[in-house]
Symmetry: C2
Subunit: 469 residues, 2 copies
C-alpha cells in the first residue's frame, strides 16, 4: 500500500530518530524482561525519558506513568516493550496523544504467515498513517542513534565511540543480522546509527537510508535487506543519499532461487529479481557486496576513501607470497595492477635492497621489519605515481605497527585510499583496532573483499555525480 | 635437478622432523638476534640440544661447543642460525659429522635473483645430496613438530595444544605466509606441525606433505605453495597421503597472469599453469581453496569431517535472514539444499512454534534463544534425515553457547559433519575458541568458505579411494 510514496523526508523522521522526549511503555524493573532490557539501553538517553507501567509507581527511582496520556508533555517517540495483544490499544493511545513515532518490538504479526497476524499489522499501520505517526516494526529489535544518545532497542548494540571519518550508519531489515553486524563495534568499527525495521509495515529500509543522507555524523551507509517490496523507493533513497555525498555498501539477502523461495516462507515479502539488484548496483557510490561478511569492512572503506580518481592499484608487501596473492585477488576483481613508471621504479629501487622487488607488487621483503623507513619510502613513491589511484598493503603481524599511522598520513596527503589487508589468522589485535579507527586507513581481513571494494570505488568515478565530501 | 625423484620416504625425513638430538649453530645469548630467537624456540626441545658458538663457553648455563665436530654424539638435525657467508663451511662440517639434516635459515641465495646467489645455493644442495643429508631452506623460517616438541625456527609459531581429531599439519613454502596462517593457533586452531621450506633447494613442499601422511598426530594437511617446480612430485605426495586417509586443503599462490609474472621476480620458480592445479583439484580428498583466508578453516573442517556420504545439506538457523544467506551461499558453491522428507518436516514442525519454518533452511526464529531444546530437536531431525549428508548452522551471538557441544555430539552420533558459521562481526570469542577445539564441530567465519569446503568434501566421495579414518 505504500509502494508509491517517496522516502520520508528528514523532517518526518526527526521525532523518531532525534527525539527530545521518549516514552518507554512496558518499562520493567526485571533486567531480563523485554521492558527491563530496553530500559537499560534507554537509561543514558540525554533527553527526557518517561516510563509507562500501570502496575508500578517507580522503577529504579524514576516515576512511572499509568499510560501515555498521563505524561505531562508531548512525547516524540514511544517505544512499546509490551506483548502484541496490548500493542494495538497503546498505539491508538499514542496516536491520540500526538506522539511522533512508535517503535513496536512485539512479534506475532505478518511474520507468522497467518491471516490474523497480517490483519493485526495492517490495523497498526492504519492507526499510524491516520495520525501521521511513524511506526517502526512490528517484530523489530529497535533503533539506535549513537550520535544522539538514543538506544531504543531491546537488544544491546555494543557501545560505539564514533570516530569522525569512520562512522557507519547501519540499516538492517533483520534484527538478528543487524545485531551481528553491529558487533563489529567491539573490534573497533565506528557506528553512528544502527537502525532495524523488522516487518517494515510503515518505515522501511528506504526511509532509514534516506534519513541517514542528512545526518552529518554518518560517513557511509551499510544496508542489509531481504524484501524488495518497494524497489522504486529504495532506488530513490539511494540516489538521494549518494547525491548528498554518502556512499553505500549493500547486501541483498536471498539472491539464489533457494533463497528467494525461503523469503516467501520467512517474511512473505517480494524477494525481487537480479535485474532489480543490478539497477541498484549501477548507481554511482553504491557497492553491492555478495558476501554479508564483507559489508561492514566495505562500508568502512567507503567512509574513509577520498574521491574517486583514475588509475590502477599498487601493492606493497613485506613478503613475496602475500604480494602475489594480492595481485591474484586484483585480477579476480578486475582491478588493474600496472607496473610503476620509470621514476617510481628508481625511487623504489633506491629505497630497497638489491634482492627486493621494485615492481608491482612491490616486495620490500622481510628486511622491512628491520628497516621500516624503507616501507615508508616505497609507500611514498607508489602513492606519488599518478598511474596509481590507491595502495594496498598486505600486512604481516611481524611488521611494525608504529608505521601504520605514518602510512595513513601519506595516504591522506596524496588523497588516495590506503587499504591494509590483515594476513594473520589472528583476526583481532590492538593493531587491527587501531586501523579500524584511523580515518585514512581501511582494514580488510580478506584480499578479495578489499579488491572488490576497490573495484566498486573505481567504477563509481565518472559515471554519475561527483562524490563531494 | 630433483624433478624426477619421488617424495622422500618417511625414514629419510625422520632425523629432520623427529630428531633425537639437535644442534643449534650460531646460538646466542642476545634474545633479539637470529641465534637468540631460535634458541628461545628450541629451549623446550625434550631431546638432546647442543649449542654451537666458537666465541662462547656457556649460554644460559648451557655449554657451547666450538663446532659441530666437537659434539660428542651423532647429531640428527643441525639448525644453522648464521649468516650466508658462514653457512657453506658449516654445511660441509655437518656432512662430515654425519648430521642427518640441516635447516638453513640464512637468506642471500636464489631468492636474490643473482648468479652468485643461485650458485651458492647449488653448492649447499650438492654438499647435502652427496652426504644423503636433508637440507631445509635456505631462506626459510624453519620447521616445528608440535607433537615431538621440536620448534626449529627463528620465528615464534604460537604454542598449540593439539586436540586429537582437530590437528592440522601446515606446510608453507613461504615463511611469512606460514607464520600468518599458524597464528590461527592463538584463536583456538590446533596444529600438529608447522613446516616451511623457503627456497626448497632439497626438501620441498611435496616432501613435507608426504612426511605428514605417516604422522598419526596429524588429522589433515593445509598447504600453501607458490612454485610448481616439481608438479609431478607434489601430485605423487598428495596421492600418497590421501590414500593414507589424510585430507588436504591447498592454496596456490600466483594463479593470475600478474601473479605468475610476479613469481618470476620473487622466487624465479615455475609458477605452473591452471591445468596443473586442476590435476591436483581432481584428486579425491584434496580441496583447492582460492582464498588464502579459507585455508585453515577448510583444513580444520577436513580434520573433523567423517567419511563422505551422498546427500544434500540442511541449514538450521536462529534467524530467517541468516538461513536465507546460507542457501544463497550453497547455491553459489553448487551444493544442493533439498527440502526435508515428510517425517523430518513433521518432526521439525513438532519442535517449533507455528510461526517458525520447518523447512530447509529451517528457521527456528528468535524463540530458539529462550527454548534451546527446540534447536537440539531440529538438529536431531535434520541429521536423522538420510537425504542430508551434513548440517550447517549460522550462529548468532545471542544463541546459547552451551548448546554447541550437544550439537557436536549429535553430529558425531549421526557421523555427519556439523558446520557452525559465525554470523557476528566480533570474530574471536570464547565460543569460537570452543568450537575450534571441538572434534565434531567445524567453524567457519564465512558462509562461502563453509559451502565451498562442503562442496569439495562431497565431490571427494565415490571418485577415488575411500577415506579410511
Amino acid at each position: 500500500m505504500t509502494e508509491h510514496r517517496a522516502p520520508y523526508a528528514p523532517a518526518a523522521m526527526e521525532r523518531l530518530l532525534r527525539p527530545a522526549s521518549v516514552a518507554l511503555v512496558g518499562a520493567s524493573a526485571n533486567p531480563r524482561s523485554l521492558g527491563g532490557r530496553t530500559l537499560a539501553n534507554l537509561a543514558k538517553f540525554p533527553g527526557r525519558l518517561f516510563l509507562v507501567n500501570p502496575n508500578q509507581t517507580h522503577i529504579d527511582g524514576r516515576p512511572c506513568f499509568a499510560d501515555v496520556a498521563s505524561i505531562p508533555e508531548l512525547v516524540d517517540c514511544a517505544v512499546l516493550a509490551i506483548p502484541a495483544q496490548k500493542t494495538e490499544e497503546v498505539v491508538r493511545q499514542c496516536a491520540q496523544a500526538r506522539v511522533g513515532a512508535v517503535v513496536v518490538l512485539a512479534s506475532g504479526y505478518a511474520e507468522t504467515g497467518t491471516v490474523e497476524g497480517l490483519a493485526a499489522q495492517t490495523r497498526l499501520l492504519q492507526l499510524a498513517v491516520a495520525a501521521d505517526m511513524r511506526l517502526v516494526g512490528p517484530n523489530c529489535v529497535g533503533v539506535a542513534n549513537m550520535v544522539h544518545g538514543l538506544h531504543a532497542a531491546f537488544a544491546e548494540f555494543p557501545p560505539s565511540d564514533p570516530v569522525p571519518g569512520c562512522r557507519i550508519g547501519l540499516v538492517s531489515q533483520s534484527g538478528a543480522l543487524g545485531l551481528g553486524l553491529a558487533q563489529a563495534a567491539e573490534r573497533g568499527s565506528s557506528f553512528s546509527h544502527v537502525l532495524t525495521c523488522g516487518n517494515s509495515s510503515d518505515v522501511d529500509v528506504a526511509d532509514l537510508v534516506a534519513f541517514l543522507g542528512h545526518e552529518p555524523a554518518c560517513d557511509a551507509i551499510a544496508l542489509a535487506f531481504e524484501g524488495l517490496e518497494s524497489p522504486g523507493r529504495l532506488r530513490q533513497a539511494l540516489i538521494q543519499v549518494t547525491r548528498l555525498g554518502k556512499r553505500v555498501a549493500l547486501c541483498k539477502v536471498g539472491t539464489s532461487d533457494a533463497g528467494r523461495s525461503a523469503i516467501r516462507y520467512h517474511t512473505a515479502t517480494n524477494p525481487g529479481g537480479a535485474s532489480q539488484l543490478d539497477e541498484l548496483r549501477a548507481l554511482p557510490g553504491v557497492a553491492v557486496v555478495e558476501r554479508i561478511e564483507a559489508l561492514i569492512e566495505t562500508a568502512a572503506f567507503q567512509a574513509k576513501a577520498p574521491p574517486v580518481r583514475a588509475g590502477g592499484v599498487a601493492v606493497l608487501s613485506g613478503s613475496g607470497g602475500t604480494g602475489i596473492l594480492a595481485v591474484d585477488a586484483a585480477a579476480r576483481a578486475g582491478v588493474p595492477t600496472p607496473q610503476p613508471r620509470a621514476g617510481t621504479f628508481l625511487a623504489l629501487a633506491a629505497a630497497l635492497p638489491e634482492f627486493a622487488s621494485p615492481r608491482n607488487p612491490c616486495d620490500a621483503t622481510a628486511q622491512a621489519t628491520r628497516n621500516p623507513e624503507s616501507v615508508l619510502a616505497c609507500a611514498e613513491a607508489l602513492l606519488g605515481d599518478p598511474d596509481y589511484a590507491a595502495l594496498v598493503i598486505p600486512w604481516g603481524r611481524s611488521q611494525t605497527p608504529a608505521l601504520l599511522p605514518k602510512i595513513g598520513d601519506l595516504g591522506r596527503r596524496h588523497a588516495k585510499p590506503v587499504c591494509i589487508v590483515w594476513m594473520s589468522q589472528l583476526l583481532e589485535t590492538d593493531a587491527t583496532a587501531c586501523i579500524e579507527r584511523h580515518p585514512s586507513l581501511a582494514l580488510f581481513r580478506s584480499l578479495d573483499h578489499c579488491f572488490q571494494a576497490l573495484a566498486a570505488w573505481r567504477s563509481s568515478g565518472g559515471t554519475g555525480p561527483a562524490i563531494s565530501r
